[in-house]
């Protein structure tokens, strides 16, 4: 291996500092014993970590977040995997246009998606909040699902489904028995990515959450407006650890990093 030049080394250190610095601050602050959030803390304890579990608003919104993240991820995969498959067969006219349109939610700010859903869904159609959250997040996640699954389909020779058909499989059987088992790493990667995206989503959720129904990130923002204690840092630490564990577990099981 080449020796790193001093400039390169400096860039690396700075990049790591920017990436990990905030997390270190939060992580340390989460173990604070103080009454208010500050860095570095005066003393250390587990009291705020314990306190997180007693806040009823966190419990309720965590449940909502999990339900919405799980539900919208499954919906986005149910819609996105067939789309990615159809696009990969690519004899469709306008496949490129479809691909482009599907990436739009990645370009359009979440605030606009949220506002549109609020005006035309929740207000105009009187949709329940959880349902509109589900719809909003699903819209947001489909591009992730299509993108990630497409890249794993690109690694697969697609004459294997024709081969399955000549051996007596219907197109549907060919997809489930031959295509799907070979892209399961990509599907798992899409699942994890979509789940985390939904779980951490703020802009879309901001418009859609109403009285009594809120997601965890929104509830955390609301909490910070009223109380400035280290429990937010403690909760953030827990969420970061949860996310890392999720990614690490799927990476270990399925090797998903090659798809994202």
């Amino acid at each position: 291996m080449n020796r790193l030049s001093k400039a390169t080394l400096l860039m690396l250190v700075l990049a790591l500092l920017f990436l990990l610095g905030p997390f270190v601050v939060i992580f340390v602050a989460g173990f604070s014993a103080d009454e208010t959030l500050r860095f570095p803390p005066q003393g250390y304890s587990l009291r705020w970590l314990a306190h997180v579990f007693t806040v009823e608003a966190f419990q309720r919104s965590l449940l909502t977040s999990l339900v919405v993240a799980f539900g919208s991820t499954l919906l986005a995969l149910a819609l996105g995997v067939p789309v990615a498959y159809a696009l990969s067969r690519a004899r469709l006219p306008g496949a490129e246009a479809v691909r482009l349109v599907l990436t739009l939610p990645l370009i359009v700010p979440g605030i606009i998606v949220g506002l549109a859903l609020l005006n035309h869904g929740v207000l105009a159609l009187n949709l329940p909040v959880t349902l509109s959250l589900l719809i909003g997040h699903t819209t947001l996640l489909i591009p992730y699902a299509v993108r990630v699954v497409s890249s794993s389909l690109a690694n697969l020779r697609l004459d294997i489904d024709d081969a399955a058909v000549t051996l007596g499989a219907t197109r549907l059987q060919a997809f489930f028995q031959v295509v799907l088992p070979n892209i399961r790493g990509g599907v798992a990667a899409a699942f994890v990515l979509a789940f985390i995206t939904s779980f951490n989503q703020v802009p879309v959720s901001l418009f859609l959450t109403g009285p009594g129904v809120s997601t965890l990130p929104i509830e955390m923002m609301a909490y910070m407006e009223t109380s400035y204690d280290p429990s937010i840092a403690a909760l953030s630490t827990l969420l970061v650890l949860f996310t890392i564990a999720l990614v690490a577990a799927t990476e270990k099981l399925l090797g998903i990093s090659k798809y994202v």
Binding site: R91, P93, L156, R157, D159, I160, D162, A163, A164, V165, T166, L167, G168, A169, T170, R171, Q173, Q177, V178, P181, N182
Partner: protein, 341 residues
């Protein structure tokens, strides 16, 4: 009655016509090759027979049954893909068993038939391996076993040997012929390699731009090409137009008497003798001389254009010397065709 019949078949990808008004009949137990350059419609034709491409018009009949609109998965037609198309997540054994499992055969029967199919392609001891851990030749054998184990009514092979190295290709060629004879299976074999087609086939169908140029035995296609295109594809590198008792090229005219009418004459380089100047049909100048092991090939610039001929290994002529070339009608393929050339 023919086993497979294609009647007035028209095929297209989108708006681009790929095969036009194709008529073809194949008898039970025959091995017929579709031979032609890429883009001639041979693979397209095969995909239509397999049911993977719906025809624009025309009929496909198999064993008397009209299968034109029958779904691919109910046709019982085996297909060996150019890329083998093995299922990457299944072992060799499970790849071969795939079609039988879909047919819900009892486990004992599947095991017996899979073992028999793997044995008939000479692939024992690799049953548990994934395709990624098999060599190209072994993957090829799994692909063939997977297609024959369902006892298809017809076996299609799409350039199955093109991904193998030369030595393995010749070996697999003989293997395929043996399997075809042993099982008495009707095969439609797609290739662009004339040597492969000649050595394997009962019949060769040469295609060009979606139409049949010639349909005949390997001997007929090799020795009596019906068109200038087939002649060129079969290695007749010298093609000259003939009319009114003479060969023509531009303004040049060399008298040559023929026993019957022809539009073109074609010679293989090995059938045109290079001799001393003044002793052949016409004279020219040696443009290039290549040693080919058993003979020396000369490219001779003549008034009729460049002609490739051959001389013995002790031929003295070097580049730039004047020589004669012998264009013997008895050694030529006589081609009588309409406008096309």
């Amino acid at each position: 009655m023919s086993h497979l019949t294609l009647e007035q078949l028209n095929l297209a990808y989108g708006k681009a016509a790929a095969v036009r008004d194709l008529d073809l009949a194949i008898d039970q137990g025959q091995l017929v090759s579709l031979l032609g350059p890429s883009g001639c419609g041979k693979t397209t034709t095969m995909r239509a027979v397999a049911g993977l491409l719906p025809p624009v018009s025309g009929r496909i009949r198999l064993a008397g049954e009209d299968i034109t609109t029958k779904p691919a998965h109910r046709r019982d037609i085996g297909l060996v893909f150019q890329s083998y198309a093995l299922f990457p997540h299944l072992s060799a054994r499970d790849n071969v068993a795939f079609g039988l499992k879909l047919r819900k055969r009892p486990a004992a029967e599947i095991e017996r038939r899979v073992a028999a199919a793997l044995a008939s392609v000479g692939l024992q001891g690799f049953e548990a391996r994934l395709p990624a851990n098999l060599s190209g030749g072994q993957q090829q054998r799994v692909a063939v076993a997977r297609a024959i184990v369902i006892e298809p009514r017809l076996l299609l092979l799409d350039e199955p040997l093109s991904n193998l190295d030369a030595r393995l290709r010749v070996e697999m060629r003989a293997e395929l012929r043996r399997i075809q004879r042993e099982l008495g299976i009707t095969m439609l074999y797609v290739t662009h390699d004339q040597e492969e087609a000649l050595s394997l086939s009962d019949r060769i169908v040469v295609m060009r731009e979606g139409r049949i140029e010639q349909d005949g035995t390997p001997e007929a296609v090799y020795h009596r090409p019906a068109t200038a295109f087939v002649a060129a594809f079969m290695g007749y590198q010298n093609l000259l137009a003939w009319r009114d008792g003479a060969l023509h090229a531009g303004d040049a005219r060399v008298p040559l008497a023929l026993p019957r009418h022809a539009s073109h004459l074609a010679w293989r380089p090995e059938h045109v003798a290079v001799v001393d100047a003044g002793r052949g049909t016409l004279d020219g100048r040696v443009g290039a001389r290549s040693y080919l092991g058993e003979r020396i090939e000369f490219l001779v610039q003549t008034p009729l254009g460049a002609i490739k001929g051959s001389g013995a290994l002790d031929s003295p002529w070097l580049e730039g010397t004047s020589v004669g070339v012998v264009l013997d009608p008895a050694r030529a393929a006589l081609i009588a065709e309409g406008g096309r050339a």
